[in-house]
Symmetry: C2
Subunit: 267 residues, 2 copies
């Protein structure tokens, strides 16, 4: 075999480096991590724009009492630039049952009408807010499909978005699959854990897992135990998802539910 | 005149209160304040989503070197789910002159192709980013038109968006029109001013006005003097916009430019 020149060697190393970078992002798990982060950011961003919309539009229609963000945006779009002219039928098309109440509120409103330029400006903000809802829905649909594919076991036990967050906090399936249950239990509680170690504050009992309604809705005294239980089963499921690639979650789920029922009974 | 019953009195007071609330938002200046805040928030929000887009898409196409946010989003949309299949013509339609360079980068890319689900998810993020650009453009157009209408004098002297920010910081035309020049000079520097008073840090020289390129691009030593000059002329213009409603800005502008020229010459 002829000896490699330094130039050839350099090129070979570069190729290896490129290939390893390429491999590092070769699996869809990294897209899931990006998608759950994008989903959470879209939520934050939507809230910023929605608060602006509500503050702005309450100048024209301060009486509106609508608690649902999407319904509110739809109302701004449905009402048009002269709210007195909006018919109940027009309102009904977008607002459904709410139309009648809104029409009555319009009747006794003390807000002035926006001029056409103002209205088209605020309408754009309402439409952007709606568009961000659609973005979230789209990312949600992607997450549901991809998480079930990449993490069939974990997502059989817990909500797919929470599974995606665990993956994002761990950084990769490889890392999640090799984590002890105690680490999984505290994923997302890194700050609190650090404070505990450094300043002796109370030790955290859960991080991301607190988002599970099965834990957050439970009695305060058993939440820690539940988090521990879930973390244990998730860590077994993550080995199956990340290494053996076998589906074992049906059996795990039976064990999990049984053990959880016992914990719920503790007074 | 018959005596008012307590119930009539209560109703009369309520009507007065309603009318005064209604009056407080009767003028378009409040829409301008909302619009400039919405514009700045849209910018912040767009940056959050854009950073996500870039981080995510660099998984598939790490070689892309595009400094313009809008061009980058357009590229993600133009390339489609299989970048090797994107023709130079397709790219040209959205990217113009950049198409050739992008096509070459695609040829030697080490990034994998996204699967169709991944691509449609990331494409939604790119489209949202584009949509936020359009929102900003729309709000910008509204601001240009309305600021020129409500603040013809101030916006003759300085950029309309900066005029809108001064109005937003002041809270109303009424308040802006009665502010001394020294207050206008420091609008938007409230925090720094507070620190100065409380902790004896350096006194701020400008707030919002620093956004004027005529000030920020000037020699560091004369910026304070320029801010003072601009604030003085703006305070005169704001009286004309808020009270006398006469157009005097053409004369003011001549004085302003002449005085500014003198300051620029200071070494």
């Amino acid at each position: 075999m002829p000896k490699e020149t330094p130039e050839e060697k350099r090129r070979r190393f570069l190729e290896t480096a490129k290939a390893s970078i390429s491999n590092a992002y070769a699996t869809e798990e990294h897209a899931i991590i990006q998608a759950i982060d994008a989903y959470n950011e879209a939520e934050k961003v939507r809230n910023i724009l929605y608060e602006r919309l509500e503050e702005w539009y309450s100048m024209y229609f301060p009486e509106a009492r609508i608690n649902n963000q999407s319904t509110y945006s739809k109302m701004v779009i449905a009402i048009g630039s002269d709210k007195k002219k909006a018919t109940e039928e027009q309102l009904k098309a977008l607002l459904g049952d709410k139309a009648k109440a809104v029409k009555e509120q319009i009747g006794r409103s003390i807000g002035r009408e926006p001029n056409p330029d103002e209205y088209s400006a605020i309408r754009m903000v309402a439409e952007e807010s709606e568009s961000l809802f659609r973005l979230q829905d789209g990312l949600d649909a992607y997450l549901q499909k991809s998480v079930k594919k990449i993490m069939p076991n974990i997502s059989y036990l817990i909500d797919y978005k929470i599974a995606a967050e665990l993956l994002a906090k761990a950084g990769s399936m490889q890392r999640l699959a090799t984590m002890p249950a105690s680490t999984i239990q505290l994923l997302g509680a890194e700050k609190a854990l650090f404070k505990h170690v450094k300043f002796g504050t109370k030790a955290p009992k859960y991080g991301v897992l607190f988002k599970l309604p099965q834990i957050s809705n439970a009695n305060r005294r058993v939440r820690g135990r539940l988090a521990r239980l879930y973390a244990t089963k998730i860590s077994i499921a993550s080995r199956a998802d990340g290494m053996s690639k076998r589906f074992i979650a049906d059996k795990l789920k039976v064990q999990l539910d049984k053990a959880a029922q016992k914990i719920y009974k503790i007074k």
